[in-house]
Amino acid sequence: MLHIINKSPLEKNSLDTCLAVAQDGGIILLIEDAVYAATSGNAAAAKLSAAQGRLKICVLGPDLEARGMADRLLEGVTRIDYGGFVDLAAEHKCQSWL
């Protein structure tokens, strides 16, 4: 399952709930304001790092760049573009955590 998150982890609870619900082997894709979760120094980064064993974490590059955070991507997080987003959505069933 591809879990799509679009909100900042310090503003809303969607990443927290998703991490608690998502089954092992799933993929978390951070888009829009959720990309901040995957940046070093963010208070939520540890949660993501802890989940990296059982979930794959991806981030949408264009959203990361728009926010000026491209140079501080958390280690182990995969950066993709919109084409990569489409590939992930084609390979997996999708769920948006709105």
Binding site: G83, V86, A89, L98
Partner: protein, 119 residues
């Protein structure tokens, strides 16, 4: 692969419509099919032909119209949500049509994947 797209927020206020547009564009470039883009909740506000954003910013409505023309996209605006928000046929931008919520369920059935963009 056939994608269905659901857009729940209006233009500019939230990034949802932008993200959905860029996703559709990328999917089409990769040779996928977009079964339908369904606009629900404030998403119906993406369909008004009356927006005039500043010259130096993107025109969200026109982008959807252009993409629909180039790829024969089916852009469907939910009638119930549209009535609540004052979106009517007279003001619809080219490429959009107003129809029932059943079209969203149908998209869920017919598309291989449904991807939702919202708040």
């Amino acid at each position: 692969m056939k994608f269905g797209i659901l857009v729940n927020e209006g233009p500019y206020q939230h990034q949802a419509s932008d993200s959905a547009y860029l996703f559709c564009k990328a999917a089409l470039e990769k040779g996928h099919e977009i079964h339908r883009v369904f606009f629900y909740h404030d998403g119906v506000n993406n369909s008004t032909r009356l927006t005039e954003p500043p010259q130096d910013d993107r025109n969200i409505v026109k982008r959807w119209t252009k993409l629909a023309e180039e790829h024969k996209l089916d852009l469907v605006v939910c009638v119930a949500a549209a009535l609540r928000r004052g979106i009517v046929d007279d003001n619809l931008a080219p490429g959009f049509r107003i129809s029932g919520l059943g079209q969203l369920v149908e998209t869920g059935i017919e598309a291989d994947r449904t991807v939702t963009f919202g708040d």
